[in-house]
Symmetry: C2
Subunit: 200 residues, 2 copies
Amino acid sequence: MSGSGTDVRHIGILLFDQVEELDAVGPWEVLASWARSCPADGWAVCTLARDRAPVSCANGLCIVPHHTLDDAPALDVLIHPGGQGTRPLLTDDEHLTWLRTQRERVPLMTSVCTGSLVYAAAGLLRDRPATTHWSSLDLLGKLDPSIEVRDEVRFVDDGDIITSAGVSAGIDMALHLITRLAGPDRARQVERDIQYDPAA
Amino acid sequence: MSGSGTDVRHIGILLFDQVEELDAVGPWEVLASWARSCPADGWAVCTLARDRAPVSCANGLCIVPHHTLDDAPALDVLIHPGGQGTRPLLTDDEHLTWLRTQRERVPLMTSVCTGSLVYAAAGLLRDRPATTHWSSLDLLGKLDPSIEVRDEVRFVDDGDIITSAGVSAGIDMALHLITRLAGPDRARQVERDIQYDPAA
């Protein structure tokens, strides 16, 4: 049963002030190009932010969100990117409360890079394995010592929560998401479409 | 001597209707995070488009450009991404003329994915080696049979023109750019910062 209550299931990528660009746009590219090229799979991808104003990213790119937190469709998957902008979110009660509410409604919560720090601050990673950007692994363990912090992995799939390593690892996590949601053939197709083969 | 005539040298990433998101934002992430973290290197990165309106990308992301073609700083490096939006550009005389003018002014012209098709249509790749997205290699050779089309490479550095393979290969090309502009240590630093290590 879809969380959206319609035939189309929704993946939402959160945007916020000082979000790291590739944390958001890496998964966007993977997932939105899949949704566009395979409409029969029944998935849609959107971005959402606190308000409709263009979001200033960590390195100065400016992205216009599709939805606010209030008018976004019910999500089946949430992606929380990282970036310098996660630091104020760690103590932002409104944001942490919103995340805990999402946890009750959204079947699959995922993060890229330091997005997992915010999940940890919201208490969502208690007694779970998780990862983050290599430079924030210590902080992840400090935010919640019950977390089993994993390094040297691209992502950690713990069922209803997936956390990724730094920045570009969000691309790998998004390809893994397609494998989960639509099968490995579809993931390989997208990987080939975006020519994601850095070892070539 | 800088093309900008100031102490700061400028890298411009072109945006246009239906540009492929990661073609633009992959190099943006690599280059803008470098410029931000190493200001003493003296580089700045911006996006530019025909006008100031938010640009609708190929998969539906919406990016606000920093400059128009007219008010952008003089560029030392131009990056032309690809995407479905390149198809109308192949016969867009205004755009092709603008590109030929840029060629006279910009020391280093680069492309990602099918951006090289537009360079080919503008005559910029005559008698040169070049590459593009794997699915457009044939078209590249048809647009200009004098091009030595290269496959199975991430990018082709032909001195004052660099062309890249599809989508994510723009990340590799941008890291190579940093090697050229600031040395291999700096490129490795950025690679580590964005945790670009898909084989890990």
